[in-house]
Amino acid sequence: MKSDCSGFNDSSSNETPTFLCLDGTIKISDFQKKVAFELKILNTPAGNDPSKNGVEQKENGERRTRGETLIIKGRNGSGKTTLLKTLIGLLPLREGVLYFSNKLNDNKLNDTVELLDSKNDKVFIGPEFRDMGIVFSEPNLFSFMNLQKNVAFGIVQKADKQKITKKEKSKMAMEKASEILTQLGLGSMLKKSPKELSRGQAQKVSVARALIIEPQILLLDEPFNSLDMEAIELVSELIQLSSAAKIITRHERLTINKVALKEHYEYQVDEEGENTASKNGTNKDGVRILNLS
């Protein structure tokens, strides 16, 4: 995998544009680890859209852009979670650079390349300005807010681009939260406290909280760990609908994720990709694997 982020700035139109590029060192407890990868933007014909029934299809059969998926594998303590925290801006890079481009949402924003994190250039953009959503391996719900407020949290907090009042923003966020919770089968529990949920239900809410902000990059730290089969189907489908680039961590051998995403791409990774691209490679379907161990 190309790793030095050097070609990041020149936007030669022929190649698929790079979307996120990391070349740096993260600190895991007492040792440092060099990590490098890049995510590209996929152009898939709208017809072949993995999201079913063309929910997100563009008009006139245009090609639809969506981000690649990166699967991070590794043993316990190999830095999977640390890497995700570094990407979203909870931890700084020890060395190196993290670039981010807005090309995914092609027309919505300017084609800006942003340096998110670089020690040498003394740049660090905080998580509030990074267009990313995260699902931790623990649900980490705010126990003192009801489910709806939990899910709406990200929208209420994020600095917004549209000029709307705080009241309108929070009203919109609450409506959207109730919508997405209903999709996840929690529509009757909007005003419940997270304390009343089972672990799996809490995990669903935590996924909803990340999806609602419609981030360009979705960071998922073993998101299916405590979900039952039915919930896995539901949640993975919702995750698929998002056009965000996804970065998913998982253990070396975790069959449940395989089940979860097999319909879409994970299956292919494991059956073919594992052999052909098991070492930090990419397979044909826009899924890369980064092995941390």
Binding site: K85, I88, G89, L90, G126, P127, E128, G133, I134, F136, E138, N140, F142, S143, F144, M145, N146, F153, G154, Q157, K158, A159, K191, R209, I213
Partner: protein, 287 residues
């Protein structure tokens, strides 16, 4: 047929713990008896027939009113000053910087907790009295003279109550979940929003009990108040001072009656602290 050995022959088959031993029972019983008899002595001697008169005379009512005003103000001030202090102390402890400064500040803040209140009163007098280190300038520049005013009674109470609030708040701050703070940051919360939306709701029960503790401590404040604020009826004579004066001038019945008021207030605070009232209050504000 098997015969069961002795350990199985318990009165209550489901009781799996060891039976209580006499060596614990006797001191424990003595402790409870000591406290219970003390209160019994108070209640026994209270002049129940004239109680209403003693409680509703001007001196008692003035003292009650003043006590409540002083204690509420002291608790509020302790909260306003103590909360940021507790947050900063908590942050500093996590960061491990300026260790020596942390130790000094912690010692300073907690000293009034173990210091005899009279010493606190003397210190206040020589700091904020008319000739005191700070008080002389207050008097010269602003014409403010603190001693023997209600403000000085409040100040004395804040001095003794502040460590209670800070300790109680710091304890709950240590119990907050760092991963919730991290999650909130990942979703864009920062600065004061992070504190008021994520940390404050977690520590609210502890803050409320800290306020109650400060209130209770102020209610019973005697030594620092009488030294710094004096014993002026209607201005600085709080309930404990009123009891002291009644007892001094031989009116033990009045002293007993006023003591009963304080006992009742203490009981109410205890119920608020230990019963579900405070958590219930917190929950009801949430929904």
């Amino acid at each position: 047929m098997p015969r069961f050995s002795k350990p199985f022959q318990r009165k209550n088959r489901l009781e799996t713990r060891q039976p209580l031993q006499l060596i614990f029972l006797i001191p424990a019983g003595l402790a409870v008896l000591f406290i219970a008899l003390t209160f019994l002595g108070l209640l026994w001697n209270i002049p129940w027939s004239k109680l209403f008169n003693f409680v509703t005379n001007d001196t008692s009512l003035d003292a009650l009113q003043l006590s409540l005003i002083v204690s509420v103000l002291a608790a509020i001030i302790a909260g306003i000053l103590g909360m940021p202090l507790a947050v900063l102390m908590n942050r500093a402890e996590k960061s491990n910087n300026f260790r020596w400064l942390q130790i000094i500040i912690r010692g300073l803040v907690l000293l009034p907790l173990v210091l005899p209140p009279v010493v606190g009163g003397i210190a206040l007098l020589f700091a904020f009295g008319r000739n005191g280190l700070i008080g002389q300038w207050l008097y010269k520049w602003f014409d403010i003279s603190l001693p023997f005013t209600t403000a000085s009674a409040v100040l004395a109470s804040v001095f003794v109550a502040l460590p209670f609030f800070v300790l109680s708040t710091e304890t709950v701050l240590q119990g907050t979940k760092p991963e919730l703070e991290e999650t909130a940051r990942a979703f864009g919360a920062r600065g004061s929003g992070l504190f008021f939306r994520i940390i404050f709701p977690q520590i609210l029960p502890g803050v409320l009990s800290g306020l109650l503790l400060s209130f209770a401590r102020s209610l019973g404040e005697f030594g620092a108040t009488i030294t710094f604020a004096g014993n002026l009826s209607g201005r600085t004579q709080t309930l404990p001072l009123a009891i002291f004066e009644s007892l001094e001038s031989g009116k033990s019945n009045e002293a007993l009656a006023v003591s009963l008021i304080l006992l009742l207030l203490a009981a109410i605070i205890l119920v608020l602290l230990h019963n579900r009232w405070v958590p219930a209050l917190v929950n009801s504000t949430k929904r």
